[in-house]
């Protein structure tokens, strides 16, 4: 049984659904929305100018998102919650990797999940079946999660202190790269059934990554995919990025992934 948190009502077409009754906040619940005052007023000056006034603004377009992201980051840091933003094209294996990761970590560290999708709660149901606390964010027409959606999801989920928070972003190799959620790190997953040249075709996403996982390594004997070349392409847009080859199906390479996660405190 699910409980729908009313937080989403003020967020356009976004719907947030908490899948675990125990974790669903009672309504009305105290929103820890810190209500930041995201109105930077830098360098504003008006100049009289014949037909009207020219107002100099010089404000970053994403200033509002970035301010909310900073509030999220502080909120997470204060509770010792490490948030990892998982991004990829649709079908790269994010949900399967999450299921396996939650199962393999076996309660060594509390894990909570924020699931982002345009529609349905199919992925959240899969994650929920592992016993993990999960909240679904449906973005409707939106092609990425943003900081406000993250904030509302955090309110609904209320992850335990010291936990690992995995955020499965909307499957899309373009838009999510631009929106800071307040996460600690960004992971980009590419599967070997995609092209070796993906990092060159979607450079913004790979440039934003702290870690790249090349998934579905068990299929390498059957597909034309060059792991080394893909890693070289990734480093051409992100010279210092770490690249791991894994299979969420067979478990190959996952120990290194878990070691990396353990470093995200």
């Amino acid at each position: 049984m699910c409980a729908t948190c009313g937080c989403s009502e003020e967020s356009g077409g976004t719907r947030i659904v908490m899948l675990r009754e125990d974790d669903a906040p009672d309504h009305p619940h105290p929103h820890p929305h810190p209500h930041p005052h995201p109105h930077p007023h830098p360098h504003e000056r008006a100049q009289a100018n014949g037909t009207g006034e020219t107002v100099t603004i010089e404000q970053k377009v994403l200033a509002k998102n970035n301010l909310v992201a900073e509030v999220n980051r502080t909120w997470l840091t204060d509770r010792g919650v490490a948030a990892v933003n998982m991004m990829s094209s649709p079908g790269a294996g994010k949900t399967t990797l999450l299921e396996r990761t939650i199962t393999d970590l076996g309660g060594r560290r509390p894990v909570a999940v924020i699931e982002g999708d345009q529609e349905t709660r199919l992925d959240a149901d899969r994650i929920r079946s592992t016993g993990c606390a999960v909240v679904q964010v449906n973005t409707g027409a939106g092609c990425h999660l943003d900081a406000e959606m993250m904030q509302n999801a955090l309110t609904a989920l209320s992850p335990a202190a010291g936990s690992l928070l995995m955020v499965e972003n909307v499957g899309n190799l373009v838009c999510p790269a631009l929106f800071d959620l307040g996460e600690r790190s960004k992971v980009v997953i590419i599967s070997v059934t995609e092209g070796t040249d993906k990092p060159l075709k979607y450079p913004y996403m790979f440039a934003a990554a702290d870690l790249i996982l090349i998934n579905k390594a068990d299929l390498l004997p059957y597909v034309d995919f060059d792991v080394e070349q893909c890693a070289r392409h990734a480093r051409s847009v992100n010279p210092a990025v770490r690249v791991l080859t894994v299979s969420a199906t067979t478990g190959e390479g996952l120990d290194q992934w878990y070691d990396w996660l353990a470093e995200q405190q």
Partner: protein
């Protein structure tokens, strides 16, 4: 289509600052290395401003080119994309422009 969310942010900020005054034009700076497509932004601007004080406003987009500086040989050069490779062969390149995404100004009243 992140341009829709980006453009919505621009229009929200502009309308808030205009405080009810009609907005005639908006100038934004969109660097060549930002993954934001100016034509898509123009398309979205017409949709997003509908029914706001910025309806009918003109959108001017200034697009600075991408440039980088090589930390190995210190040469500055143009970057057509995010593939950070200096003509000298080094990939240790700092991006010096092209990532701007700013609302520069607007004309109101």
């Amino acid at each position: 289509m992140h341009e829709l969310a980006i453009t919505q942010s621009v229009v929200d900020a502009v309308c808030e600052r205009a405080a009810g005054r009609p907005v005639h034009s908006v100038c934004v700076r969109v660097g060549a290395l930002t993954a934001v497509v100016p034509d898509a932004m123009r398309f979205c601007f017409g949709l997003v401003t509908e029914g706001t004080t910025a309806e009918g406003a003109r959108l001017e987009i200034d697009q600075p080119p991408g440039t980088g500086r090589c930390r190995t040989c210190t040469v500055e050069f143009t970057l057509a994309d995010l593939i950070l490779l200096c003509p000298c062969g080094s990939a240790d390149v700092e991006i010096t422009s092209g990532q701007e995404l700013q609302i520069v100004s607007m004309k109101v009243g």
